[in-house]
Structures are given as structure tokens and as C-alpha cells.
Symmetry: C2
Subunit: 216 residues, 2 copies
DNA sequence: CGTCCTGCGTGCAGCTACTGTAAATTTATT
DNA sequence: AATAAATTTACAGTAGCTGCACGCAGGACG
């Protein structure tokens, strides 16, 4: 039952990958030209030379072809490092973790960039993308909890530990969304790493403001 | 052409409101019983005794009937107060602003609560709700900028001012999402106001952590 | 009161996303 | 080459959603 590695390099797998890539590219190109709403699934199928049914076998939904492969969950190695190697900077480490996952998800920066452009200008896709991030947050929260425990913080002694984990993840998500938007629309001049550090610093500063002077 | 106040109290308007409320309640009740996915628009129409076409005249989309009236944009008075009366606590003030808008949007807490429950357990609705928040953030960002300018901070002297506004709004959105979820699922024992303060404090604490001790 | 007008509800025809099913085609295995 | 397993496809059907044109009732006006 376990001895069927399902070759990644057979003719079968190669064709599959080609078809999928073709459909994704076609979808992206069509949407950038005509706008997401004006692209029908049938158009994409024509361009990719498959039946509509096959399209749905691949992506399940129209949006799927535009958003790319679903959940950018980090690799185990990264996860372990995050859980064990972490210091006090949960926020920074989380952002780094998510970023790494996003990067090795789609090697082609060109695709990635046009995809982001499309998403940014299409409310429906933007919403769906945010939903994905939210779903990802679910599992990240567990990770953070794990990390907290590794650091010796138990739920018994800190009642709000789970809340703290969830909030940390939520904040990280905010930083990611902010950075993405700035990167793909605002024309940030600098490396992604800089941008992320900049975003985090900004978040810290704003969160801190108003802390010393509580309202009347 | 512009001088038609469209009475809010005529028989017409009352009927309208009744129909809409009826449909919303029916939708909510049906979804809580059968699950969102298993409720068809036709079912809601039957329960509300209107044609399908009328349903879409009211809500435009199936989700609309479940999410309630679209954008909880604050009243002008609140807005003015936010822009002018603000101190350094942008985050807190923003959260207060959004909360106020949400509250006087739906006077009935029962409806509000069951709606939240449904949304929370329905990924599709959750996503759509997030999209709404995102759209709202667009205009809130402008507000924050306005406030900054009122406080004498000009874009000329602080290049990142727009970024700062957007980040503030994004963070406020995070706090709101966190609070909502905690309130409607986690069973928070206390007043909404307390919960919000708690959330903000938590966000501040996490953002601050790791600030003093940069990674090696 | 009667009349006109305008807003609103409705039926209908049609498009698009999406799914189940079973047959046809292609690739892998022996 | 024969068989098995994986994919693709055609076909039919459901559900969300829209444009259009008709009819009726609420409301303004004389």
C-alpha cells in the first residue's frame, strides 16, 4: 500500500503538469487582457485544448486556475526550525516562515507577479486569496502554540496562551497582506527582505503608538 | 431631479423593509437548520413569498441575504469625531469606529449573533465577509490619512504616511476579526468593550515582543 | 374622486459555473 | 500483446444570476 511512489517523472505526470501549467497561463493571460469577469471557463478550455470537465478535474473551481496551487504550507524542515529555534520575535519568524513557503511554491517570478497583479485588481480573487491565508492561519496557530510550549510556556500558567498564538498569526497575516500589496502595486524599491522588515517595523510602531497615553 | 427625499415611512417603504427582513430571517433560519450549502435561493423565496427575481433585486447575490446589508460605513458624525478628535491612539480609535458602525447597523443582537455563528462556520461566507472588510478598509485608509493631516503631519515631510495609514487600518481589521471570532465562538465572558480592549492590548504586546532583541 | 406616473414585483428566456455518470482514450504493468 | 489503472471526454442536469418587458399598486396632483 505504501510502495507506490507514483513516479514524478513518468510520461503521465509530465503531461499532467504541462496541461495544468498551460491552463494556468492561459487563464492568467486571458484575464489580464479581458478582465477576470469577462473570461469564461470555456475560453480557458479552448486555449488549453481540454474539455470543460477536465478543467474542473484539475482546479475544482474557476478561481483555482487563477490562484495557482492551493495552500503554501511550509516544508517540515522549516517548521521544525520555527518551533525549536525561535527566540522572542514570533512576528518576524512567522513572516519569514510564510514568505519562504510562498517563494518555493512558484519558482517563476514572472507568473507570480502577473498573478499578484490580477488578484490585486480583482476583488473576488482578492477575497478568495485572503480566505486561503485565513485557512492557513488555522494550522499556523497550532505551530505557534507548539513553539510556546517548547519555550516552556504552558497553557496552565498562561491562560491566554492560545489567544496569544492566534493573535500573533493574525498580525503576521496582516503584515503579509500589507507587504504583498505594496510589493505588487506600490512599486517598492528594494529587496523583498527589506520590504518585510520595513512592514514589521511599521506595524510595531503603530501598535506601540497610543500605548503610553490612554484615552480620557 | 435631486429634490426627492423618498419618504422612509410610506406604506411602500414599510412593505419593503418587511420583505427584506423576512427574507434575511428566513435565509438565516434555513441555513442554521440545513447548512448554507444545502439552502437554495428558491427555498428562501418560498419562505419569504417572493419570486426569485425579486430576491435578486433585493440582495443581488445569494450570500447577500445571509450577510445582511452591505457596508457598515460609520455615520458622518462619527467620522468627523474620528478625524478631528483623535489623539495618538489610532488603533484604538479605529477599532471603536468600526465597532460603532457594526452595532447601529443591526439593532437586534439575536439576529447579529446567529448571523455571526453561521458566518463563522461557513468558509464561503467567512471569505465574503473578509472581502467586505477589505473593501471597507479602502475608505478607512483615506480617513486615517485625513486625520494625520489634521494633526499636522503632511505627506511631504513623512514619506511613509500613506503606508502608515494603511497599516493602521490593516491592524485594526486584524483586531476586529480576532475579537469577533473570540466573541462568537470562544465564549468570552465580559462586555464587548472589555473584549476589544483586551484584544488591542494583546496585539500591542505581541508586536512589541522581539523588538528589543533582534535575531543573530 | 379620477388620472397619470413611477417604483416595484414577476415571469421568462438565457448564460455561466459546476457536478454525476458512464463510455472512450491513453499510459503503465506484466 | 493483454490487461489494468489512470485520465479525458461527452452528455445531461442543477443552481446562481441577469436582461427585458409587462402589469399592478402606492402616491402625487388636480
Amino acid at each position: 500500500m505504501t510502495s507506490k511512489p507514483t513516479l514524478d517523472d513518468g510520461l503521465r505526470a509530465r503531461k499532467r503538469a504541462a496541461t495544468q501549467a498551460g491552463l494556468e497561463q492561459a487563464a492568467l493571460a486571458l484575464a489580464l487582457e479581458h478582465g477576470y469577469e469577462n473570461v469564461t471557463v470555456d475560453m480557458i478550455c479552448d486555449a488549453g485544448m481540454v474539455s470543460q470537465r477536465t478543467f474542473f478535474n484539475y482546479f475544482g473551481t474557476k478561481e483555482g486556475a487563477f490562484l495557482g496551487t492551493p495552500p503554501p504550507m511550509p516544508a517540515d524542515a522549516e517548521l521544525a526550525r520555527f518551533v525549536r529555534g525561535g527566540g522572542a520575535d514570533v512576528l518576524g519568524d512567522l513572516v519569514g516562515l510564510i514568505t519562504a513557503a510562498l517563494v518555493d511554491q512558484e519558482p517563476d517570478p514572472g507568473i507570480l507577479r502577473s498573478r499578484r497583479m490580477l488578484i490585486e485588481r480583482t476583488p473576488e480573487l482578492l477575497g478568495r486569496e485572503n480566505t486561503r491565508i485565513t485557512e492557513l492561519e488555522e494550522s499556523l496557530t497550532l505551530l505557534v502554540l507548539e513553539r510556546f510550549r517548547t519555550q516552556g510556556r504552558s497553557e496552565e500558567f498562561t491562560p491566554g496562551l492560545e489567544d496569544e498564538a492566534r493573535m500573533a498569526v493574525t498580525l503576521a497575516g496582516s503584515v503579509m497582506r500589507f507587504s504583498m500589496q505594496k510589493w505588487f502595486t506600490g512599486g517598492f524599491t528594494g529587496s523583498p527582505g527589506e520590504l518585510l522588515r520595513h512592514s514589521i517595523a511599521l506595524a510595531r510602531r503603530i501598535a506601540a503608538a497610543g500605548n503610553e497615553a490612554p484615552p480620557s
